[in-house]
């Protein structure tokens, strides 16, 4: 984009070289840290917190390197398509978190189109995710739904077709929702989307009576998975052999690997589409709408059509991810699509940096790690220390005396909330803000040093 400013470092070549060297060293250290550790050691959980978090952040590091694109993307491809799968086979939990990160990053990017690009606050984004998930689920679940009773089920091979159908259905639902409500402003839109999210969830929960479509609160079990190609089985077995691992069920690992590859593929596709839309007349129109709706429409931007495009695009990402999610979880029930989920996805967008693709991904990584990895492992660490009756040196405090009530596992929401608050207070522009937003925010905050000015530039005359 024309706006990006070029850093004028004294010697860009040397800088690039240095940075690349650093990144390389970083990745190598992270990978070694992950494979060389003794998994039975006392401090493993804590260690794991750092080692894996470090590793997961490496794609962002590589993306930010000031080196030519082919090299950058080559490196990234190696990292994502070779190193991560190997690590994932070596330790399945790494693959799991990687898949979850891809899923949430994809969702966050979808919401980013709506909130970050077009500036429409959508609090019910999870509805589109649900649409995608239920779409695949009802057609493959072994639960006793009308689909099964009437023999409408489809085999796992159809996954790919449904991925595409999911995109369109979700986009369609997005438009359906958008048509009546897009004339609403800001917070009015927020409440309606929130309501819509709840409506979809309530429908999913209740559409088991009188006709059983979704199996209601029981959820749909035994959802189909895309068949694993032989090649992938081969690769997995080979990898297991090379690393001389003892794996109980290689087929399961291969399946996980397949999901990982699909998730990465989808995510890359979503990133590319986001990028291209952002840097196009459509992206410019979205920004214009976000900044000044009246001026935008007076300058010839058709508001409703552009907003619908944003809704539909964001929704379609959610739909595709939903199909993947259903297949991966093999189980779908309404509790995965609660308001809280929408809010967490929104938090990813904002914590990362609204409108910044890289930032949003980072936000998704940070929040997913925090939720699934960091807090869990900290609890495990405490538990491990308790099991060996560890005595904290210096203060001579036996961990075992640590009251049961104060176990960190019980305080995950508390810690999570605190982290959110602190992150926003110290980095209100997000972890990796979009260039545009950074400027915007800086100006505003400097000014509010004295007193808070109106966000818009000084009105010059009125009436």
């Amino acid at each position: 984009m024309a706006s990006t400013t070029i850093t004028n470092a004294p010697n860009p070549n040397r800088r690039a070289l240095l940075a690349t060297g650093f990144a390389l060293a970083y990745v190598v250290v992270a990978v070694l840290a992950l494979i060389l550790v003794d998994r039975n050691s006392l401090w493993y959980p804590l260690y794991n917190v750092f080692a894996y978090s470090m590793y997961v952040l490496s794609p962002i590091l590589i993306i930010s390197l000031p080196i030519p694109n082919p090299i950058k993307f080559g490196g990234l491809a190696i990292l994502l398509l070779i190193v991560t799968p190997m690590l994932g086979i070596y330790n399945n939990s790494y693959m799991e978190i990687a898949v979850q990160i891809c899923i949430f990053a994809g969702l966050a990017l979808g919401l980013n189109i709506v909130v970050g690009f077009a500036g429409l606050l959508d609090l019910g984004y999870v509805a589109f995710f649900a649409v995608g998930a239920y779409l695949w689920a009802v057609f493959t679940s072994t639960s006793e739904t009308v689909f099964k009773l009437n023999g409408w089920l489809v085999p796992g091979e159809m996954f790919w077709v449904f991925l595409v159908i999911g995109v369109f259905i979700a986009a369609f639902v997005g438009i359906l929702l958008g048509l009546p409500v897009l004339r609403l402003r800001g917070d009015y839109l927020a409440i309606v989307t929130l309501g819509f999210g709840e409506v979809i969830r309530i429908l999913a929960r209740n559409a088991n009576d009188p006709i059983n479509i979704t199996n209601g609160a029981q959820g749909l079990i035994g959802i189909g998975k895309p068949p694993v190609p032989d090649l992938l089985h081969g690769i997995t077995n080979e990898a297991i052999r090379i690393m001389s691992l003892r794996v109980d069920n290689p087929g399961f690992v291969a399946q996980q690997l397949l999901f990982y590859l699909i998730a990465v593929g989808l995510l890359v596709l979503i990133i590319v589409i986001s990028r291209r839309l952002e840097d196009s007349p459509i992206g410019r129109a979205w920004t214009a709408i976000r900044e000044d709706e009246v001026a935008a429409k007076a300058m010839g931007v058709p508001l409703v059509r552009m907003k619908l495009a944003a809704f539909a695009t964001g929704a379609s990402f959610g739909g595709a991810i939903g199909v993947l999610y259903a297949a991966k979880q093999a189980f779908v029930d309404p509790t995965s699509f609660v308001l809280l989920q929408s809010i967490i996805i929104l938090a990813m967008v904002i914590v990362g940096g609204m409108g910044s693709i890289r930032g949003v991904i980072l936000g998704a990584i940070a929040m997913t790690l925090l939720n699934l990895h960091v807090l869990t492992n900290l609890s495990l660490q405490l538990n491990a220390l308790r099991n060996v009756n560890f005595i904290v040196p210096i203060i001579d405090f036996p961990i075992r005396n640590w009251p049961n009530q104060l176990e960190p596992a019980k305080y995950q929401p508390l810690i999570f909330g605190l982290v959110l608050v602190l992150m926003m207070i110290f980095r209100p522009e997000g972890l990796m803000p979009a260039e545009r937003r950074k400027l915007e925010l800086k100006a505003e905050r400097e000014e509010s040093a004295g007193l808070d000015e109106q966000a818009a530039p000084q009105p010059k005359g009125d009436a």
Partner: protein, 240 residues
Amino acid sequence: MSDIVLHVENLHSYYGHIHALKGISVDVKKGEIVTLIGTNGAGKSTTLRTISGVLRPKRGTVTLKGQNITGMRPHEVAALGVSHVPEGRRIFPQLTVMENLDMGAWNVSDKKLIETRKEEVFTLFPRLRERINQLGGTLSGGEQQMLAIGRALMTRPEVLLLDEPSMGLAPVLVELIFDIIQKINKEQGTTILLVEQNALMALEIATRGYVLQTGEIVMNNDAKVLLKDERVRKAYLGEE
């Protein structure tokens, strides 16, 4: 120098990285009308905003009647008798005309006094009396400007900071506003610091003037002298 009401020395203000004021010094004596003129973006409004505390300066001091008020918050400055009518009038759109005036009297607790002052304002601007219960946001531009000035007068300020009171007004109203400024100054003895694009008219009613250019004062003299100055005439009065 005891008659200096407002003393501004070597003021530096920033908007982010933009260095908007680069060492401004201004003195205003009691009962004077002093005008700041200058091109767009010269920093005139910024000077007023720094004085009234909307912006905090990086360096420099603002002294009001011998008291250092640098970096005070706007409501504290206002309590000391400084009224600032900012650019763009800033009427409270959802308050009625009456309530807007009441807001002006925020620091006055004597109810009777408030009533008398309102009367004074209505005498100055009979048009406002007709619109007592109209919402501020629906007034026309000129009416809003009257209301903004009237609101600022509710405290009987010692110092009135006026930022482009004539902007966007019909010629007939421009005249009216200038007349009123003079009247306030003469009848109530209010000291006025006036920022104007309409340099000609401003200099005509002012005692002294300062010329600003990109954040610095480039000229500073009696209004009469400035009016005759070659450069001023050329740059700010639009003469070829």
